[in-house]
């Protein structure tokens, strides 16, 4: 196994539903990853800054507010501009199926909807990071 994977779990926008973000953060931690959770109500700029400062390998965005169409592409773009286009970007939460292609197009590696298994999220993340490293 390589270096310890660093995951930034982020809650962008005004969305206050943090149950999923916390559960996923803990699952990553239990799987031996280094986890930083931003807390609520982060602007896309704050999230991008945190990814850079924390030198994260993974940005796991939790969003249940319907604002994903605006906020997610902006965060991906900000990461690119800051030279961190290599970060694995994941989205979890309530995202209608019809919106998923646009997010993938924008650079998101995968969208995990309601009912996703923690083990699956952790495994996908590990494989994607180690595969690209």
């Amino acid at each position: 196994m390589g270096k310890i994977i660093r995951v930034l779990v982020a809650k962008p926008g005004l969305d206050s539903h943090d149950r999923g973000a916390k559960v996923v953060a803990r699952a990553y931690r239990d799987a031996g990853m280094e986890v930083i959770y931003t807390g609520l109500h982060q602007t896309p700029e704050q999230v991008a800054e945190a990814v850079v400062q924390e030198d994260a390998d993974v940005l796991a965005i939790s969003i249940l507010s319907g604002a994903h169409e605006v906020l997610v592409p902006r965060m991906v773009e900000l990461l690119r501009r800051r030279g961190r286009g290599d970060v694995l970007v994941l989205v979890g939460g309530v995202v209608p199926d019809d919106d998923v292609p646009a997010l993938l197009q924008a650079g998101v590696a995968r969208v995990f909807g309601p009912g996703s298994r923690l083990d699956e999220i952790v495994e996908f993340t590990r494989r994607a990071v180690e595969g690209s490293g």
Binding site: V9, G13, L14, D15, S16, D18, R19, A21, K22, V23, A25, R26, A27, R29, V35, Y37, T38, G39, L40, H41, T43, S65, G66, A67, E69, V70, L71, V94, P96, G113, P114, G115, R117, L118, D119
Partner: protein, 537 residues
């Protein structure tokens, strides 16, 4: 108690969704300590375990109140009229995130969020449209609003006045439960202390001016949705209730002047008996706390009245039609638990805001329980059941054990600052998820019986044109209002916030001058500061 005779069980242990072990059989020994008058009482009698009214649903059915709101005020107004035409008996307003957090639709942080998860309200002009054609002397309205509750309530009062309905006539509820925001729902704005002042200001205003309005809805719902167990939901909610009563008394109010207007809001989750026992325990605990701890003498102060919503977190995105049945069972538990009003979730809510079709089925579910099933024909039909009474006692004991822990931490606010509730809830949420993934907890259509196709459901979408329309109206309102009057009203609000006067009056003046929610909240943000939580997981 007894083991399964002869190891015939399907499982090693039978455990509720909250993790409580359930015995094979309950009998007289489990309720031996119960004294009927002391512990149950007839419906309408202390301690109200069996219900708060003698006749319950024989006299009047519960209020069927579907939580709704999206897009602009026009779109939500149309949905409310639809629901009333379908036989709904009260309104329940969902606001969007910018409104919940006290930002106007034109604030940079509101971009992409306007009208998404609820209706966008910026000024009185929006509120006038929201209730256009809805008679506020006849329809009761519940508003899920917390940090800016005083502002939205003030808007409602003024809209009613414009309809010719006085504030003494209006009926409804503002959620206004800020403590559970720090615990679970997380739409806080100010730090706890000034937040509690806003709450007690609304208590005082209500007691004096709007006696039929519920000035708070002390809410376990969101605590449960964030992952808490039934016992935690019960305990944390009632602990908050005790804190509000203390705050009201400390603010100089007489307990019997404001306690009758305190109302509650619980979740109804999947474990049928655990839920209905929780509702019964809640009534008994509250009655005793109010009479014996706080010295309330009016029976109306002792009665715990509550709204119920079925568990949003139990809904599955997979096979969404199953949610109709899941919700029906949860609704039945709420009715057998004696709820005063009820929201039934729509089958598509794990995916999006509910479509009209889905919300009609959800409402019909309540109507079937009320009108077809016969369960509303008699009061508390499960009272006296060995199992139900034992479970009621057990939940009560668990709640008191939590009260002790919270008191040792220095009360609810101190426990919030120490992250106590947040940690307890996060632990339960994680444990729940692990139990689902191990298969110990069955979720039909997700971790068992997951095969087969389900038909795609048509989702409601709130498009960018809603946001555009909202921004246009806000700009127009700001252009057309009397700027001087707005500035003066905001100055008076600032002065009151710095002093000790009741803030409802200057807020009413500001609202009437078409000051926006964001402007009013900005003044209070400057005066009170903003709360930042430590992120615990």
């Amino acid at each position: 108690m007894s083991e399964d005779p002869g190891k015939t069980g399907r499982r090693d242990a039978f455990i509720t969704v909250s993790g409580q072990a359930i015995e094979r059989l309950y009998g007289p020994a489990d309720t031996a300590g119960l004294e009927y008058q002391r512990d149950l009482g007839d419906p309408g009698d202390f301690p109200y375990t069996r219900g708060i009214q003698p006749s319950m649903y024989r006299g009047r059915l519960w209020t069927m109140r579907q939580f709704a709101g999206f897009g602009t005020a026009e779109e939500s107004n149309a949905r409310y009229r639809f629901l009333l035409e379908q036989g709904q008996t009260g309104l329940s307003v969902a606001f969007d995130f910018p409104t919940l957090l006290g930002y106007d639709s034109d604030h940079p942080r509101s971009e992409g969020e306007v009208g998404k998860l609820g209706v966008a309200i910026d000024t009185l002009a929006d509120m006038e449209i929201l209730f256009d054609g809805i008679p506020l002397d006849r329809v009761s309205t519940s508003m899920t609003i917390n940090a800016p509750a005083a502002v939205l309530w003030a808007m409602y009062v003024v809209v009613a006045e414009k309809q010719g309905v006085s504030r003494t006539q209006i009926t409804g509820t503002i959620q206004n439960d800020i403590l559970k925001e720090y615990m679970a729902q997380k739409t806080f704005v100010f730090p706890p202390r000034p937040s509690m002042r806003l709450v007690t200001d609304t208590f005082a205003f209500g007691a004096r001016e709007a006696p039929r309005w519920n000035t708070i809805s002390i809410s376990g719902y969101h605590i449960r949705e964030a992952g808490a167990t039934a016992a935690q939901e019960l305990a944390f909610t009632l602990a908050s209730g005790r804190e509000y009563v203390r705050a009201g008394i400390e603010a100089g109010l007489q307990v019997d002047d404001f306690a009758p207007r305190l109302s509650f809001f619980f979740n109804s989750h999947v474990d049928f008996f655990e839920e209905l026992a929780k509702f019964r325990a809640a009534r008994r605990i509250w009655a005793r706390e109010m009479r014996d701890r706080f010295g309330a003498t009016s029976p109306r102060s002792w009665m715990l009245r509550f709204h119920t919503q079925t568990a949003g977190c139990s809904l599955t995105a997979q096979q969404p039609e199953n949610n109709i049945v899941r919700t029906a069972l949860q609704a039945l538990a709420a009715v057998l638990g004696g709820t005063q009003s009820l929201h039934t979730n729509s089958m598509d809510e794990a995916l999006a805001l509910p479509s009209e079709e889905a919300v009609r089925i959800a409402l019909r579910t309540q109507q079937m329980i009320a009108e077809e099933s016969g369960v509303a024909n008699t009061v508390d039909p499960l009272g006296g059941s060995y199992f139900v009474e034992a479970l009621t006692n057990q939940l009560e004991e668990q709640a008191y054990a939590y009260f002790d822990r919270i008191d040792r931490l220095g009360g609810v606010v101190a426990a919030i600052e120490k992250g106590f509730f947040q940690r307890e809830i996060a632990d339960s949420a994680y444990r729940y998820q692990r139990r689902v993934e191990s298969g110990e907890l069955v979720v039909v259509g997700v971790n068992r019986y997951a095969g087969g196709q389900s038909s795609p459901v048509k989702l409601l979408r709130v498009g960018p044109e809603s946001q555009r329309r909202q921004l246009d109206r806000l700009a127009r309102t700001k252009r057309e209002r009397d700027r001087r009057a707005v500035a003066d009203a905001l100055d008076r609000l600032r002065a009151a916030a710095g002093g000790g006067d009741n803030l409802m009056y200057p807020i009413l003046d500001a609202v009437r001058a078409y000051a926006s929610l964001g402007e009013i909240m900005a003044v209070l943000r400057e005066e009170f500061g903003e709360y930042r939580e430590e992120a615990i997981f």
